[in-house]
């Protein structure tokens, strides 16, 4: 049986990689008066749907997708949440 999943993928810069955009946003927030804000890091959020025999297979496939294209392992880390679409529909209705 094939299951359909929605993946929510978060790609973030590795801690050792400089994020000048994050630094600029942080300084903007401080100018707005949010003095307590720190360590702003900007990443990417990607959604996709995929079909797989089960959740393990879906996770395996997503790992490959992230390693091969969505994230560059030299500079980025990734993590993802997986939601079965049927469950998703059930939750929203």
């Amino acid at each position: 049986m094939i299951h359909k999943y929605q993946a929510r993928i978060y790609v973030t810069l590795r801690p050792s990689v400089l994020d000048p955009a994050g630094v600029a946003v942080e300084s903007g927030l401080k100018q707005l008066g949010y003095e307590g804000v720190e360590h702003v890091r900007i990443g990417k959020y990607i959604e996709l749907m995929l079909c797989a025999a089960n959740e393990d297979k879906a996770r395996e496939q997503l790992d490959r997708i992230c390693d091969q294209l969505l994230a560059n392992p030299v500079i980025e880390n990734y993590r993802f949440d997986l939601v079965e679409v049927a469950a998703l529909i059930g939750a929203s209705s």
């Binding site: 810069l13 400089l18 000048p20 600029a24 969505l70 560059n72 030299v74 500079i75």
Partner: protein, 232 residues
């Protein structure tokens, strides 16, 4: 010696490169559309600057899956020459043909300028027409030119003398003030272990016609040409 210039959707320095090899150097040159799958006639592949695939996802990330890139990897395996300039350098790192990655410039700006660059090594065809330690001035034009690699990779690059070009001050100092984009070790251009694959952010093709005020980049093409004609 035959040149091929890869053209991706969004490449925009392809004709500048062809102008140098074909018009100025009178060498056979052809444009290679990214869908081509036979480039066996080429001796040197140039991946030009531009914004391949709109720089979507990451610079160079999508270009690596173009049909022609499989042939570029094959070209590399055969020990033939590959030059990646600017976006071409980004494509080569994304494709894994060169180590590291190019990330956003330290100061966020897109930089369009002429900067001093030091030639670190002259025993490879690419730099054979320069003198060791020579200071040259080359144009740069990039938003993501900050070379990044982890400490081990950087050490391997230095140990193997794979850094061919470094950003420097006008007096040749390799320091932060001479580093326009924050690149690790002021790296402006590196080669692979074999020395056949060169990736660089500066644009030698934009400093090749005397009409444009500088011919500092022409020596790169001349050196390659000279070495090839001697060994051929």
């Amino acid at each position: 010696m035959k040149f091929g210039v890869i053209v991706f959707p969004g490449s925009n320095c392809d004709r500048d490169v062809a102008y140098v090899t074909q018009t100025l150097l009178k060498l056979p040159t052809r444009m290679v559309w990214h869908e081509e799958t036979d480039i066996s006639d080429l001796d040197v592949v140039v991946i030009p600057g531009g914004f391949s695939y709109g720089d979507y996802l990451r610079c160079g990330a999508l270009a690596q899956f173009s049909p022609v890139m499989g042939q570029v990897v094959e070209h590399a395996k055969q020990g033939k020459f590959i030059l990646g300039i600017c976006n071409g350098f980004q494509v080569l790192t994304e494709a894994g043909l060169l180590p590291g990655a190019l990330v956003r410039n330290r100061d966020l700006h897109f930089i369009c300028d002429r900067v001093p660059v030091k030639v670190e090594r002259t025993d490879l065809p690419w730099t054979s027409a320069y003198s060791k330690g020579q200071l040259i001035t080359l144009p740069i034009a990039h938003g993501e030119g900050n070379y990044y690699a982890d400490a081990d990779t950087l050490k391997a690059l230095e140990d193997n003398h794979q850094v061919l070009f470094r950003y420097c001050t006008t007096t040749g100092e390799i320091d932060d003030t001479g580093n326009p984009n924050g690149s690790a070790n002021n790296i402006a251009g590196i080669c692979d272990r074999t020395g056949k694959i060169l990736g660089m952010m500066p644009h030698p093709e934009r400093a090749s016609d005397p009409l444009l005020g500088s011919t500092d980049g022409m020596k790169l093409f001349e050196g390659l040409l000279h070495t090839m004609s001697v060994t051929a």
